[in-house]
């Protein structure tokens, strides 16, 4: 395609963003005096700051482009990622899990595994998380360079190095605090930079109702505009999935595995100033998460409606005969945005990429420093040495991400592996966490071997399908399935295997004394949180409101 031309004004806006985030890193450096400031932003954030950062750490541009493209491919079923695939898990984290995380004063999720189980479980999870984080960070970097190269004609290497050095600069200067600041700025830039696409789409086509009507009229399957009504038969919906796969695979395992155990997002809640703020962090974030389909999914639906109208001149790009679904959002920006706004749209995407990468790097440097370096390599490290190590691991993490990005460049299909990577690490970990927090007799050996077996089985299932050792219908229990459906079901089975092995081994191995588990396990811990507050100010009340909104949204688009 012909690259979207940037004018002088567009460049000015992009440069302002780069100067701004580097300036913030420099400004915050003076407030980063010790390791707690660097790794946990001094534990002084309000629930609004931590909540927006919690959401934004997940809101990378890869997700924006990918989910808009996926909507074009699968229809409205993609909204399940934002509603049932996120909100129940965020509510569960805020109401039930956060008290155990926050009150134990841990610095990372693997740190909880050390307290609840033992060192080997912590190190296993720490290593798996560090590898996953750097892989995802590199793939993000690669995707960013690819988008900038394809749509703006930018030099691949310059784009990647400029953004990587900027991220290394501001995260290295002030750690999690600058990552959180830039994530929140990114959140506002994404809404101001991309919501205009939805507004323009509705203005051009006429109304939301008209968009849906066009898709239903021209599309071969009406299920592109529904959420649940066609989910009892995989043949009737664009994602080729049964509601069981959505509820068990996405709504339960993948969603809970990501939102309640992935340190990338949970770290933001650890930065809150007190327990109530930490509990409110995912609950406040849930409302913003529920709003995102009006930006991402709506843009995808607009792209479908426009592409069905031959007079619109709108058509997705083709790469080697294959439709490039990720081109939907950039093409809509090019269609609607004049000079000036193009700069804002591109800045929003850049901010998304860079904040996503900063989130990964700030989570990596914490897990590396506490759960691998201090835990295994240098147990006597001082606080000032850990602060130094945090800065060094930031730079090294960015360099490894760059290496991963170049690796991804030589194997383009690696981007397809992202969901698979999550199902290898997060899905079994959620079984370990859930059992560890809610069942006191789960043993350290049970947790460790359950986690090993869960991760290995998930990887094995992925390999078996990839190399045709068996057909994926064995995993999905259906004659038809999409890659997405296979991911959901594989995550479910990995969770089940991890849970079963953990329980069985725990029945036959030595249990930890109950007194060592106080504060870490439900039933052994005082759970009267926020009882002094009126009900309307308690996290439980906010959780109920979030769930009511979730139900209403699902009914509206049933």
């Amino acid at each position: 395609m012909q690259a979207i031309g940037l004018t002088f004004i567009d460049w000015i806006i992009i440069l302002i963003y780069f100067a701004f985030v580097l300036g913030i890193g420099w400004y915050l450096r003076r407030f980063t005096k010790n390791e707690e400031d660097f790794f946990l932003a001094g534990r002084k954030n309000s629930s609004w700051v931590a909540g927006l950062a919690f959401l934004s750490a997940n809101l990378g541009a890869l997700e924006l482009l990918g989910m808009t493209g996926n909507t074009f491919k699968y229809g409205m079923y993609v909204a399940h990622f934002y509603w049932i695939g996120a909100i129940p898990a965020m509510v569960f984290l805020g109401v039930y899990m956060m008290p155990f995380y926050y009150s134990s004063k841990i610095k990372s999720v693997p740190g909880y595994l050390k307290l609840r189980f033992d060192e080997k479980t912590r190190v296993l999870n720490g290593i798996a998380f560090a590898i996953m984080t750097l892989l995802v960070s590199g793939i993000n970097l690669y995707a960013m360079a690819l988008v900038l190269h394809t749509f703006l004609g930018w030099n691949w290497d310059y784009a990647m190095w400029a953004s990587a050095i900027t991220v290394a600069g501001y995260v290295g200067l002030s750690g999690l605090m600058s990552a959180i600041f830039t994530e929140i700025i990114q959140f506002f830039l994404i809404w101001f930079g991309l919501f205009l696409v939805s507004i323009f789409g509705i203005l051009e086509i006429g109304s939301l109702k008209e968009i849906m009507a066009r898709i239903n009229e021209f599309g071969s399957q009406g299920s592109f505009t529904t959420l649940w009504s066609t989910s009892s038969n995989p043949m009737q919906n664009g994602m080729l999935i049964h509601w069981g796969g959505i509820v068990l695979g996405l709504g339960f395992v993948l969603s809970f595995g990501y939102w309640t155990t992935d340190f990338l997002v949970v770290q933001r809640a650890f930065s809150a100033k007190d327990l109530r703020s930490a509990r409110m962090t995912p609950l406040l974030a849930s409302f913003f998460k529920m709003a995102l389909p009006f930006l991402v999914i709506l843009a995808g639906l607009i792209a479908i409606a426009l592409s069905m109208d031959t007079n619109s001149g709108f058509k997705l790009l083709q790469d080697g005969g294959q439709v490039n679904y990720d081109s939907a959002l950039p093409l809509l920006i090019a269609r609607y945005y004049p000079s000036g706004l193009v700069g804002l749209g591109v800045t929003a995407l850049l901010a998304g990429f860079m904040a996503g990468q900063a989130g990964n790097i700030s989570a990596f440097n914490t897990v590396w420093t506490y759960d691998i370096y201090k835990s295994v390599l240098n147990k006597k490290a001082t606080d000032s040495h850990l602060l130094w190590m945090g800065r060094v691991s930031t730079i090294v993490g960015v360099l490894i991400s760059l290496g991963t990005a170049y690796w991804a460049k030589s194997f383009p299909s690696i981007m397809d592996y992202m969901q698979a990577i999550f199902s290898w690490v997060n899905a079994p970990l959620f079984a370990t966490m859930l059992l560890g927090m809610f069942v006191w007799w789960i043993t350290p050996n049970g947790a460790f071997w359950g986690l090993v077996t869960g991760m290995a089985s998930s990887f094995f299932m992925w390999m078996a399908v990839k190399f045709h050792w068996f057909h994926e219908s064995i995993i999905t229990m259906s004659g038809v399935q999409s890659d997405m459906a296979a991911n959901f079901w594989r995550a479910w089975w990995a969770w089940v295997i991890c849970a079963v092995v953990t329980i069985v081994i725990s029945l036959f191995t030595k249990k930890k004394p109950k007194e060592e588990l106080i504060g870490l396990v439900k039933g052994l811990t005082d759970e009267k949180h926020d009882q002094h507050l009126p009900f309307v100010k308690r996290p439980e009340f906010v959780a109920i409101i979030a769930l009511i909104v979730l139900v209403i949204l699902n009914l509206l688009f049933w």
Partner: protein, 71 residues
């Protein structure tokens, strides 16, 4: 020694939206006087002007409300 007080994040959000919104608004006014050769769908609604103004006002409000705050 004086203890530095940190500006809240909302101050910085307001500042960047104020600056970017102002630039986009001015670009829109400029494009009315000197129309751009690149014509986009619905460009007749002058989105630079009204969207730039929304950003400018929103950012300006946040900036003004937090300009003296520290955390």
């Amino acid at each position: 020694m004086t203890e530095h007080k940190m500006k809240p994040i909302w101050f910085f959000v307001g500042l960047i939206l104020l600056v970017m919104g102002g630039i986009i608004l001015l670009t829109g006014i400029f494009q009315i006087i000197f129309p751009s050769e690149r014509v986009t769908v619905l460009s007749e609604t002058h989105p630079n002007i009204w969207w730039g103004a929304v950003m400018f006002l929103f950012g300006g409000f946040m900036f003004w409300k937090t300009r003296k705050q520290t955390v």
